[in-house]
Subunit: 418 residues, 2 copies
């Protein structure tokens, strides 16, 4: 069988499994998730044995220790997968919810019912725990999933999917609801991306080059974010102590993630007072500052920023700093250099707070809060399958609901159109 045929078969079977999932009760789906949690514990040894094959191959290939670390299914990682499954089982089932039900003048009742998207394709890099987290979220939302992980995790992914399929089969559900692509051939990705009749949504997770590749080659809608260049604007009326605490937290608490802070914009009226306070605390924590001319003239130990710095997602202890004329200049800067991820204003001015919330176009816009809160768990979505910075079909952190859509339903009593 050619790769094309293999992928086509997988997708056709996923499409047919998706029809079965449509009719499953929340009870059955939750039982599958809880059984899967039990089975992961039972099969820990065999999972780790398969994982060792991947680790050995990775070492032989000379993967970095950070890469090997992400690839390892340690006891701790398996435990966190088990906890994740139980948490997803405990979430409210989004499917079947009926909203906006209205009576039309002719007596028709018209509303919307939340339904699964159908078949979701995940394309991701090394972490094999994504296999279980994604499959669990997709299944709970009633979707079949096709998983394409990194080639270096193929043994781990296949054993995890096999256990999931056995749990599905034991419940009388099609095992094709959760499938891992069994080949590491790169051509498989291109085949997947062309199957717009079988697959409803592609979610890529990984580096910018993977995401660009997927989005440029897909005929299927893609939910993605390239990068998180998050901004904080310190307004003239800001509580400067609050600004300092929030900026420190946004930059330093976990610099390697997409919702960490990359650029601070400071209102010129408070620059001379605030920048020395800010730089002291950040520099003590080892943060390198790259500033505009005015910033560099106010604080010491600041490198002049180049044009690229305003676009940079450092994911590191580096921060770009710019003095701006006011709110409009701050919003102009964000519109030009931002990545539509997360921006926060520190202010005590009512009008400026409301304007910032309304006029900044990013997927998360905040007042007086750390950008690090931009996260499905922190927002109360329960579990997150990713963050979208494209406005369709979902914008910002995506939980269970974002893996569904709505159809129109109509209750009639024999009405015809005049």
């Amino acid at each position: 069988m050619s790769i094309q045929e293999t992928i086509q078969n997988i997708a056709t079977q996923a499409r047919s499994a998706a029809r079965e999932l449509l009719a499953l009760s929340p009870e059955v789906k939750n039982r599958v998730l809880l059984n899967m949690a039990d089975e992961l514990l039972k099969h820990k040894d065999s999972i780790q044995q398969e994982n060792k094959k991947d680790l050995a191959a990775g070492e032989a290939k000379g993967l970095s220790s950070a890469m090997l670390d992400r690839l390892t299914l340690s006891d701790k990682v398996i435990d966190s997968m088990i906890v994740g499954l139980k948490e997803i089982a405990a979430l409210q089932d989004p499917v079947g919810e009926i909203t906006e039900m209205n009576k039309r003048p002719n007596g028709l009742m018209v509303g919307r019912m939340r339904i699964p998207l159908g078949v979701i394709g995940m394309i991701y890099e090394s972490r094999p725990n994504v296999t279980i987290d994604s499959a669990a979220l997709c299944l709970k939302a009633g979707n079949a999933i096709i998983l394409r992980g990194g080639s270096e995790a193929i043994h781990s992914n296949l054993v995890l999917a096999k256990i999931f399929q056995d749990v599905l089969t034991a419940e009388g559900i099609s095992p094709y609801a959760v499938q891992v692509i069994p080949t590491t051939d790169r051509e498989a990705v291109n085949c997947m991306l062309s199957l717009d009749e079988q697959i409803d949504l592609i979610i890529p997770r990984g580096g910018e080059s993977l995401i660009r590749f997927v989005s440029e080659n897909s005929r299927i809608p893609v939910l993605k974010h390239y990068k998180g260049v998050c901004h904080i604007f310190v307004d003239e009326s800001a509580d400067l102590e609050m600004a300092n605490t929030i900026i420190f937290n946004s930059k330093v608490q976990r610099p390697g993630v997409c919702n960490s802070l990359e650029t601070v914009l400071v209102h010129k009226a408070v620059a001379e007072t605030y920048l020395p306070i800010m730089s002291k605390k950040l520099q003590e924590a080892g943060v390198e500052l790259r500033g505009c001319v005015e910033t560099c003239s106010i604080i010491s130990g600041c490198t002049p920023a180049s044009e690229e710095d305003w676009y940079a997602e450092y994911l590191d202890l580096i921060l770009a700093v710019k003095v701006v004329d006011g709110l409009d200049a701050a919003m102009d800067h964000i519109a030009q250099y931002g990545s539509l991820h997360t921006e926060s204003i520190i202010t005590n001015d009512y009008t400026n707070a409301q304007r910032f919330l309304r006029e900044v176009d990013s997927s998360s816009v905040m007042v007086n809060a750390s950008t690090r809160f931009s996260d499905g768990g922190q927002y109360g979505l329960g579990a997150e399958i990713g963050i979208s910075t494209t406005k369709l079909h979902s914008y910002g952190p995506m939980g269970l609901k974002e893996l569904t859509t709505k159809k129109f339903i109509v209750y009639g009593e024999g009405q015809i159109r005049e």
Copy 2:
């Protein structure tokens, strides 16, 4: 300037106009729409003069009379554009609505704010009134629009856009919020479809080949429907008189539109009773019936249906008819041959009605109602920009709300992440 540069410029200007539109009050947007209604009336003569150029060129090119009819901006068509503008001005503004606002344990208030999508590209065929209808809906939802109409309507589209731009300028709004692509070169479409950084959504309206071309070549999300193969299933418990009235209405009232009926599925237990009643009424109205073997054995004057008939969108007085074993067989048929547009069940059985609503995956699913109701106006959406049969980002008839998205907003008081 090359075509590529022209389109790139248009898109960049649209993107910048979209930022302005974000901040407009409903009052200003409505004033633009009402002024535009006045201006259409004032400029009727010059509009019809430009339209005559298109009509003359169309005649010279040998367009069919149906095509010329759709191209004509008669007094009646201009009046309907004016009425449409006033109706859209009267609709509630969807932008700025805040929903799902929740207090998190740390005191953060997290909710979602409805925002415009940004820049929308419309690609459509001959009717020039689409230019005004689409521009008005997009503007009301806060979006900039780039319009690419059929080459045969270029003079009409350009004069309509010019009037719209003058109204925008008079209100101090960027005229680039409404732009018609000034060239009829086909390359312009390819250029548009590649600008995924500037354009947020493409909506194609027209024949299946146009829509396939757009969807296969676009790097921007596309909202589309290829065709409407709508089904009605007459269940065992159906009120047969109601079935007859609804089927007649769905097929005959306006056969040339996407929500008209194409295939009837009849429960075998009522086939012998019902099919003669149905065929009599339909055949008297000139409807050609194409049936399965069993159907043809029950009624006279029925042509045997081929496999293609089950996929067919006739848009004509032709109806495919099949006898099925029951609800599951009917739903299997719809899943295999349907187009995800609109399906209706005629039944008096509670469980079957609920199962049909839940398990049929189409964008509109009905009980005891004519498929002809599948329409934004009939559903109370106010005005419709199209019907989507793709599940992202909107599924079914699309009104103003479907031209928007939601971002997360967060009100804090200095919270940081632990």
